[in-house]
């Protein structure tokens, strides 16, 4: 089928099989909420299992299999669809019926007069709005999301995976049906399977399940715009207040020139060494040595070339923590890195990659990202590459990392400020 890509991992190791299907589309402020609402609406009922009770009965009958709506933001691509997991042991072959149900959820929803049911659309729309509003309930995640919104105002990367409240409010069943059909026709599709069946059989059952899939002009042009330099010469600072006793400090960096021809193993080791591993520069200094926080870690978005550092601190320690995090990044750039730190960072990445091979759900996420990055090597190769990363590689990768924005969420009485 044009624009339908399948990744299969055949193994008898697990008792759980995984099957996922994602439609890929450009992240866009106008359509993000519609796309995000869609899997939930489709998951409400199909032609043969018209409501959630009927779907639940079918899944319970398959030893408690799950099919969950999935909405992800991968760089500036939005991936929406379903992830299914089910018992995969000899004598209980559930791949066929699961593939059929995934296909049915995607292509044969419960409709009236060709339109998605208004009740289902309205219900899922309210749920989506609740979810968007509920971002604030998790203070750390909220701070992270707010940093990205403020840091990247001119980039689609600022758009949340779920879209925003205003566009979610505008969702109606007629327009959503139209959008759904257009999305089905134009989106590249990624299918992932991990389990005991061989790839030929997976392709066969998925081909059967997707017979009614309409294919129009496929939008192969989707991708992520990588900005190498910072927006202003000096980092922008954003602050916001909430009734929190612990302040949430989040710092956003542009990875810079290392993204021109990114070496994923080097970037992962660099991140592990600075703040993504344990221990790392940030945990050893900001947490253990200076006791400034309970947590401080970095995360790297390899698709967008943005690194973030998040930390929970006493608001009185804001300046001190910010300075110390900056000092630790400078140490990495200066090559002030011990052999021990290099060993730990390499081992952290390598071990994380090898552990992935034991976790079907993690493999699913890993391969979807690899496919979007256009990379064809697996976790074991990446683990081996990480073992070869040198101090010089890390210094080179870190050389152009620049702080672009600082966001601080704290408790107190002042008004929101910005400078």
């Amino acid at each position: 089928m044009p624009g339908v890509f399948v990744t299969c991992i055949r193994t008898d190791k697990f008792r759980t099989g995984i099957l996922s299907l994602h439609l890929l589309t450009a992240l866009d402020r106008q359509t993000a909420a519609q796309n995000a609402a869609l899997p939930g609406v489709l998951r409400r009922g199909t032609v043969s299992a018209p409501d959630m009770a009927a779907l639940a009965a079918r899944l319970d009958g398959m030893y408690g299999a799950h099919i969950e709506p999935s909405v992800r933001k991968l760089g500036e691509i939005q991936a929406v669809g379903f992830t299914a997991d089910f018992v995969d042991v000899p004598g209980r072959d559930l791949l066929g019926p699961m593939a059929e149900l995934v296909g049915e959820l995607l292509l044969a929803p419960n409709t009236r007069g060709g339109l998605l049911l208004p009740g289902y659309v309205e219900g899922e729309k309210r749920k989506l709005i609740d979810l968007i509003r509920a971002r604030m309930n998790d203070r750390a995640e909220y701070a992270q999301a707010r940093l990205i919104e403020r840091m990247c105002p001119g980039e689609t990367y600022a758009v949340d995976a779920l879209g925003d409240e205003a566009t979610a409010e505008a969702i109606g069943y007629v327009a959503l049906t139209r959008h759904y059909k257009a999305l089905l026709a134009a989106s590249p599709i990624e299918i992932f399977y991990c389990g005991s069946a061989d790839p030929a059989r997976v392709c066969a059952v998925m081909t059967d399940a997707l017979v009614p899939l309409p294919r129009g002009e496929i939008d192969f042009g989707i991708g992520t715009d990588i900005r190498l330099n910072t927006v202003d010469e000096t980092p922008r600072t954003f602050t916001e207040q909430m009734d929190v006793s612990q302040g949430k400090l989040v710092i956003g960096y542009r990875v810079g020139r290392a993204m021109e021809d990114p070496d994923m193993a080097v970037l992962r080791v660099t991140d592990a060494l600075f703040g993504g591993g344990w221990p790392c520069k940030l945990s050893a200094n900001v947490r253990e040595k200076l006791s400034l926080c309970y947590y401080a870690y970095s995360e790297l978005d390899l698709m967008k070339g943005i690194m973030t550092v998040a930390s929970g601190i006493d608001p009185a320690d804001y300046e001190k923590t910010l300075a110390e995090i900056g000092r630790q990044l400078q140490a990495v750039k200066d090559g002030d890195i011990t052999d021990g730190e290099m060993t730990v960072a390499r081992a952290a990445v390598s071990s994380r990659m090898l552990s992935l091979t034991d976790d079907p759900a993690a493999l699913e996420k890993f391969w979807l990202e690899q496919n979007l990055l256009g990379l064809d090597y697996g976790p074991e190769e990446l683990a081996a590459l990480a073992e070869d990363v040198s101090r010089e590689d890390v210094v080179r990768a870190a050389a152009d990392i620049q702080c672009d924005a600082v966001y601080f969420l704290y408790g107190g009485e002042e008004e929101d400020a910005e400078d």
Binding site: A56, G123, M136, R139, S245, P279, T343, S355, D358
Partner: protein, 422 residues
């Protein structure tokens, strides 16, 4: 070490007890890259008062967790560094019932196991290092207090247990941890970290005999007397209070409802008690349950809704947590389900689904090792679960629900958005 085969589950379990009293469980997983070992002590946040060697101790809330933080300190530095140099990741957690130290690794399993057993059995605290940790734990407490769903959960426990040992956070409070010293930590370590009070659970492509050998080499050989715990007066079945509300910066009202289950059973009855509660809750409130689906469609619950049963300090309780524009209406409907009949075909599907969940637990190293530890401390064999599950009837579930879930036995804490203030 004894080898017990479970051909119907495609798994084997190695089990043994050392002369020092330590229980060991190993589930070999040929072909897997990852290994997980959990070294768990039957000592948690609820174990505050105890007697040992004729002396009684009354320790402040938060000691078990404080001790967990400081255990990683060794005379040579932090045990963390040993694990991370080998690419392993080690961590620990403290619940009301247990403290678990664990690592996962893809290389050098035996060295990592040695490090785990060494650091957990080596108390090394100084007044300075204990003092320094107070800031870090203080930040952890502050973070928890800012987390609305956690705050809601803690308030529900407070409603259920009042001033009892289960009525407050495992972390303690800034005030309760203020007086903890290195001497407090030494005393608690001596009382509760004796091998006879602990279990070692391992899953991975490992040699079970080697696990036993290393444990024999590293851990103290003598079996020492264990402390007598005092969890205070029987908390009974009624909640201390039934309702509490407060406001926070949240997007929609959050609720946590809870009910006590009474004494936690041990042995085969313990497993039966756990599975009965799990199956009953799934039938009443699971993703397929009529009550949940109806509330979901009415917009009174969303998929944040979750429930669990916990067992600590000799008793059990359940909690139901979620988000709802009208928590009282949602709770009333959830409790009404407990007094209605359960459709037998639906019941059979829930059993089948729970069985599927058990099969998959065997691949989840975290759940597997922690569940083995739980079984060990409560005297049941986890692998009896399929047979016990099979024996449960619709009538068992109905009786469980009707008896425990009457409105006067259920407490609920609610956190409302600030502007709502009701």
């Amino acid at each position: 070490m004894r080898r017990i085969e479970h051909p119907e589950l495609g798994i084997e379990l190695w089990q043994g007890t050392l002369p020092n009293g330590l229980s060991i469980f190993v589930v070999p997983k040929p072909g897997w890259r990852k290994c997980r070992a959990a070294f768990v002590t039957d000592y948690g946040g609820a174990d505050r008062r105890f007697a040992l060697d004729g002396e009684t101790y009354d320790t402040p809330a938060g000691v078990a967790h404080y001790l967990e933080h400081k255990m990683f300190d060794m005379p040579y530095g932090s045990a963390d560094d040993q694990f991370s140099a080998r690419g392993a990741s080690a961590n620990a957690y403290t619940s009301e019932a247990v403290t678990s130290y664990h690592f996962t690794c893809t290389d050098k399993f035996e060295e990592n196991l040695r490090t785990l057993l060494e650091f957990v059995s080596t108390p090394y605290f100084t007044p300075e290092t204990v003092e320094k940790e107070r800031g870090i734990i203080g930040q952890e407490i502050a973070e928890d207090e800012d987390d609305p769903s956690w705050a809601c959960y803690l308030r529900c426990l407070r409603l259920l247990y009042g001033d009892g040992v289960l009525g407050s956070s495992v972390l303690g409070t800034a005030a309760s941890i203020a007086d903890i010293t290195d001497q407090t930590l030494y005393a608690c370590h001596k009382a509760f970290y004796a091998p006879a009070n602990m279990v070692l659970c391992v899953a991975g492509d490992v040699d079970p005999e080697a696990v036993e050998r290393i444990a024999l080499e590293v851990l103290p050989g003598a079996k020492v007397p264990l402390p007598e715990r005092d969890w205070g007066p029987d908390p009974g079945l009624e909640p201390a209070e039934t309702r509490e509300e407060r406001t926070m910066d949240v997007s929609a009202p959050l609720f946590c409802a809870g009910a006590k289950l009474g004494p936690a059973a041990t042995g085969a009855d313990g497993l039966r008690q756990r599975l009965t509660a799990e199956l009953a809750m799934r039938c009443l409130w699971g993703r397929s349950a009529p009550a949940y689906l109806d509330l979901y469609e009415k917009g009174l619950l969303n998929d944040n809704f979750r429930f669990e049963a916990s067992y600590a300090a000799g008793v059990g309780h359940i909690t139901l947590e979620g988000e709802s524009p009208d928590p009282e209406a949602a709770l009333a409907a959830l409790l009404a389900a407990a007094q209605r009949d359960i459709d037998p075909a639906f019941f059979d599907r829930q059993k089948k689904a729970l069985y599927g969940g058990f099969i998959r637990l065997l691949d989840d190293f975290w759940e597997l090792t922690e569940s083995l530890a739980d079984g060990c401390f409560h005297g049941f064999d986890l692998f009896d679960a399929p047979a016990v599950l099979e024996s449960l009837t619709c009538a068992d579930i109905a009786a469980w629900a009707a008896e425990r879930l009457t409105p006067e036995r259920v407490a609920m804490s609610i956190i409302r958005p600030k502007e709502e203030r009701s």
